[in-house]
């Protein structure tokens, strides 16, 4: 029996794929939210379930108020999605091993066919980015025609979250391999980054110092990773006040 060596990420290391979000550029237009829903077959929960706070989004635009009323100031828009933590709090709590760390892509995976719906991962996620299929949400005709065939259509009772558009990663890798080369930087991007009209989202290899994400992060100099104090080693960097 061959065992796969477990690769543990240390604090000095970066992951493989990473994202850079420039909050100064983000206008909060929600184009990324719509694009993500289209790309990843995310259900529309409808009015009633939305009232229960069961909306399903893999990315959302957060907005906070600073100061006391009436002297309030709005903080910059903050797109929030799964941070693809290097040491993810969601992973060790899953009793079914449905949320596991991909050793090959250094991403957090959600294996839908393993998920039994305990919702433990969502409760342990400090970013609150996981959404749960409380029902089999209806897609009236002709909406099923726009489903993305590369992404599983989730059923009732499973958890789901941002995958960094792993289907696009695989597609790009497959294409590159068929042409006998490596995946080039900027050859593909995630749905949210592609849709962003302000180019506030950049996606690419963070372990490659020559990639656009690494270059932009270096140029800006003081990017912030959320909840870094928890030791989650997130892969998404936020730029603000540059």
């Amino acid at each position: 029996m061959i065992k796969v060596e477990e690769i543990k990420m240390s604090a000095e290391e970066t992951g493989k794929w990473g994202m850079l979000i420039d909050q100064d550029l983000c206008t909060g237009c929600q184009a990324c939210v719509a694009a993500c829903a289209m790309e990843n077959n995310i259900s529309f929960v409808g009015e009633e379930d939305a009232g229960y706070g069961r909306t399903m989004h893999w990315i959302r635009i957060e907005r906070f108020w600073e100061g006391e009323y009436p002297e309030v100031k709005m903080t910059p828009n903050q797109p929030m999605m799964c941070q693809q933590c290097g040491a993810a709090p969601c992973e060790p709590v899953c009793p079914a091993f449905a949320t596991v760390h991909s050793q090959a892509e250094q991403l957090n995976l959600q294996v839908y066919n393993r998920c039994v719906g305990t919702r433990y991962c969502a409760n342990n996620c400090p970013y609150q980015v996981r959404s749960f299929n409380w029902r089999d949400y209806e897609r009236p005709e002709p909406l099923p025609n726009q489903l993305n065939p590369d992404v599983t259509v989730r059923r009732r009772g499973v958890m789901e979250k941002c995958t960094f558009c792993i289907q696009r990663i695989h597609k790009a890798q497959d294409k590159a391999k068929s042409e006998g080369r490596e995946v080039a930087d900027g050859e593909f991007t995630t749905a949210c980054a592609q849709a962003c009209p302000a180019n506030a989202i950049t996606f690419g290899r963070v372990d490659d110092p020559e990639s656009l994400v690494s270059q932009l992060a270096k140029k800006h100099g003081h990017g912030v990773k959320h909840h870094e104090e928890l030791g989650t080693l997130p892969s998404v960097t936020y730029l603000k006040g540059g």
Partner: protein, 184 residues
Amino acid sequence: MFKRLFDWLKQPLGLIAVGIVLLAAVSFAAYGVWLTQQAPEQPVQFPHNLHVGFGIQCLYCHPGAAKGPAAGIPSQEKCWACHNQIAKTETSLLLAPLKQAVLIGKPLQWVPVAQVPDFVQFNHRAHIAAGQNCENCHGDMSKQTVAENPQVFNMGFCLNCHKQVAGEDQAKLVKLTDCGTCHY
């Protein structure tokens, strides 16, 4: 009342009755299992063995397997391009549905046989490029008439081969046994 029933069942005739009922139940269950293993009804009884026997390559009719995720089913125009040149098949009754479909331009509804569930993302190209032959998964088509599924495509079937192919190569093993390689 139950005691009287048991007493009746204990006599030779009763035992035979119990045997018959058990036999009926088992054969009914076996029939049910057998039914699930049958190839579905196809619009044309396509003889794979004949076409493979003529030396036609799998990739001639299913070229998608070398190029992308889906192997694909040839369009009826492709079938007809050959068959309308062969006098025997042009008038054959067996091929009447095909001729009809081409003439009125309505596609034949083939029933897929080798399927994986929605949560499995399978890519033919990668497997062909890795040197796998069609028959490794689809069985020997030269012995089949209407397409049937020779083996259940379950995860053990896939993983066994993935592990074998990876061998001692750690990087390959990590990639080939990663959940995210097939499930997303």
